[in-house]
Amino acid sequence: MLNNLNRRDIQIMGALFIIVVCLRLYFTLTTAHFAPDAYFQVRMVEHITEYSVPMTQDELFAGGRTMLFSPFFHYLLAILAWIVSLSMVLKIMPQLFIAVLPVIVYIIVRTITERYDAALFGGIMASFIPIIYAELLFSVSPLTLAVPLVFFTLFIFVHIERKLYDFQFVLLIAALSLLHPSAVFLIIGLLGYLVVSYLEGIKLENSEMELILFSTFLFLWIQFLIYKRAFLEHGIINFLQQNMPPEIASGVFGLSFANALISIGILPLILGVFCMYSYLFRIKNKYVYLYVSLCFGVGVLVLLQLVQPAIGFIYLGVSLTILSGIAYAQFLDYLKKTKFIPYERMIIGSIYIMLIVSMLIPSLSYARDAQENTVQPPLYDALLWIRSNTPPESVILAPPEEGYLISSIAERKIVADKMFILVPDARKRVQDIDRMYSTQFPIEAVNLFDKYDINYILFSTAALRRYGITTIAYHNQDCIQQVFAEKDVKVYRSRCQLSVV
């Protein structure tokens, strides 16, 4: 199919890519820092850049812990960082990766519908999926590469009979297996495709069966090699929920319909559901079933709270934009059969206005919010102060949301962050952090400080939001000393010790 693209296609795809890259780079290059969660990835990339091997033991975690993660993305960025500066790689590369997504959606819709306008519509929609701006703008996430690759692999799967596509498919599956566990959606999509095709009485090609079999076994095997210990320690369900304590999991796995609507966009939801209905009950097209089954698979996993809704919505959003492109083509065909054909331009215009209202505006709004949630100067200054003015072996108390920042920027030990895999006392740690911030009793707090050898307490807007307090209740004790203050961000030093009299 790629060979069949004409000049017009290439111009449209180029334009889509450039628009998305420019928009995303505008946000990232005008922002000094990343989102707090990004600093985990930053630290892993830095480690690979320095030592050429992934970090397996986290020394900056009080009590130590074993790290398990899929390292492909971090290696890729680390290799690029040997050529260009790391800060540029971290800011630019993820945006370039994710900007390929509208191009891939364009190609997929163009292949299925054989229409420019539908492909362009799908491509534009994929350029402005709100959740992608909310989650993948400042996060340096492996998902920026995993999401386009998953959909590109599905495209390759459909056209496997072409020369060298089998080789590309193998490379893509291997890369995805080492990139992010969410690539399991690809396997679910393929297996779902098998089931839906069987139910619809469509005969699958031998090559399709072979690819499904291969990708399932390879993906399972690689995940098992990487995460075997986590499976053993936590069990399958708890592993899927990343061993998150309920206090954190309720926020991360919480699901709201309104949030889903805004995150994905109302237009792709409506058009996507229409397309599903149409292809499941009226028209048979096995290639569309690939995306339908992906939608079902992701939807079920999100509903069962086995996958973070944010990640699920990203995949769901892209699948629905593909289906929307197909639905758009169907709609235009139908329009030609009606008396509304003289108003075609007006109708198309109103659809695009809806697209702007339901997708472009929320995307920009989410991008602004994400920008505001990046690390801001007072907090960044506090972290730099900690790095320069505290002993290297110090343990810093911070809410789990800021754990990555402490270990990455301040380079000091933490009690907990948002990665709980292979942390046996994860819930206890989070509860202890909550108590240390919210308790009114200095003795209780000091007792817990002793437990984790805590020397410094970081109080920032994250603590303010999480605990609804303006300062720690015991800050005026003699043994607690405020050593840094800038706006809402404070650092306290604790010299308190409990002794038996």
Binding site: I160, D166, F167, F169, V170, E205, N206, S207, E210, L211, L213, F214, F217, L218, L220, W221, F224, L225, K228, F231, L232, G235, I236
Partner: protein, 413 residues
């Protein structure tokens, strides 16, 4: 047979080379009383496992194509349960040998006494007896239905004999974890199945579905043994050979079918074979590093040979009970009829920092020796130096009588 011997001897060599020639496993030591830990005992285990492989291979030759025989034989050898039984001293290895012998006898002139070897199950447990009846029954259903009808009274007789003999449900009662974890060896189950082998077996069942009338016994036996395994994971040892057969069926199918993408065929088969091998090697690694160590056995032998302590009751973690029982008298083992009561006492003593109460508990239970290893000190019982009973060891009434290679034996004066 050659490959089987190589795998089983390889495991023995592996464990010996890393400096631990002792018999691995907790339950090995239940059945070891009266045996000395000699090399000949290990060789007998390997001989039993190799004989089982030989009999299974012979059976496959009777009923399958040479390729199927070859694949099924290899998968059976590398199956986690086969490897485990070749290394652990357990009656279940013999049980599988007897079942294989019984199935082989069906194809000989001695058909009428084919079920005779199953009498041996009456000295093991209900799980083994029922599983052996299920396997032989389903095999006879596969070979010749009339044969099954003739053997029904024998099965009834065996069941009655089991009731009269008051067989235990299972000989091994280690505290159970999540069934999902136990069912797959890759997730930590000692007697579990290989993950890839199980996936292949599911595919094998789907592929063999057109022959469902002929294979109904095999499907039913899988279902029955899986249900039994929920109550005792020993059942998984008997499930493994059946799973192996279906896994081999799927593998042969993938091998022989015409692939549109030869490149993908090669890679898929490579991934499947690596996956199966990986499970087997992971189990070999687990067994090679499995306790007890030489130091543990030496400390127990020291107690056994000591002129004053050889008859004393020794307190330790229940997991060490059978090892201690190999040379001395352990206060608690997993097989103890009063296990729960003794577990409470053990936990109370280990956690207590109250000297009077601890002494009272030790004396009232006639415990005079306490056996501790580094595992107990590092999380299994205690997490810090001065926790619970460890704090009380500073009192002069406790005397350390043995301290070698992280194993301490304390005596109450």
């Amino acid at each position: 047979m050659g490959i089987a011997c190589a795998v089983f001897f390889g495991l023995l060599a592996w464990r010996t080379l890393i400096g631990n020639p002792q018999m691995p496993g907790i339950y090995s030591y239940v059945h070891l009383s009266g045996f000395s830990l000699s090399l000949s005992l290990r060789l007998i285990l390997i001989a039993v496992s190799s004989a089982t492989v030989g009999l299974v291979y012979r059976l496959l030759a009777l009923k399958g194509s040479p390729r199927y025989q070859w694949f099924a034989g290899l998968i059976f050898i590398i199956a986690p349960s086969t490897i485990v039984l070749s290394a652990l001293f357990s009656p279940y290895g013999v049980a599988l040998l007897l079942i294989a012998l019984s199935l082989n006898l069906v194809h000989t002139r001695l058909k009428s006494i084919a079920l005779l070897p199953l009498i041996g199950m009456l000295w093991i447990d209900w799980v083994s007896l029922i599983c052996s009846m299920i396997i032989t029954g389903s095999y006879m259903l596969y070979v010749e239905k009339k044969c099954l009808l003739r053997t029904a009274p024998v099965f009834a007789g065996l069941a009655i004999a089991g009731i009269i003999k008051n067989l235990p449900y299972a000989l091994e009662h280690a505290p159970k974890s999540l069934f999902l974890k136990e069912i797959f060896s890759d997730l930590g189950g000692l007697y579990g199945l290989g993950l890839f082998m199980s996936i292949l077996a599911v595919i094998g069942i789907i592929l063999s579905w057109p022959y469902k009338k002929k294979l109904v016994g095999a499907y039913a036996s899988i279902l029955a043994i899986v249900i039994m395994s929920i109550w005792s994971t020993i059942g998984l040892l008997y499930l493994s050979p059946i799973v192996t057969l279906f896994a081999a069926y799927a593998l042969v199918y993938f091998w022989e079918r015409e692939w549109n993408l030869p490149f993908i065929r090669f890679l898929t088969l490579a991934v499947i074979i690596y996956g199966i091998l990986f499970s087997g090697i992971a189990v070999m690694n687990t067994i090679a590093e499995m306790p007890p160590s030489t130091e543990v056995i030496e400390s127990v032998q020291w107690l056994k040979n000591h002129p004053f302590y050889s008859d004393d009751i020794v307190l330790s973690h229940p997991e060490k009970g059978f090892w201690i029982g190999y040379g001395a008298t352990s206060f608690i083992t997993y097989h103890d009829p009063a296990y729960n009561k003794k577990l409470n006492i053990t936990q109370e003593i280990f956690a207590s920092r109250d000297f009077k109460k601890t002494i009272q508990l030790l004396e009232s239970n006639n415990i005079s020796i306490i056996w501790i290893d580094s595992e107990m000190k590092n999380g299994q019982v205690w997490t810090s130096e001065n926790e619970g009973l460890l704090y009380l060891f500073t009192d002069p009434r406790f005397l350390k009588v043995y301290d070698t290679n992280d194993i301490e034996i304390w005596r109450l004066k």
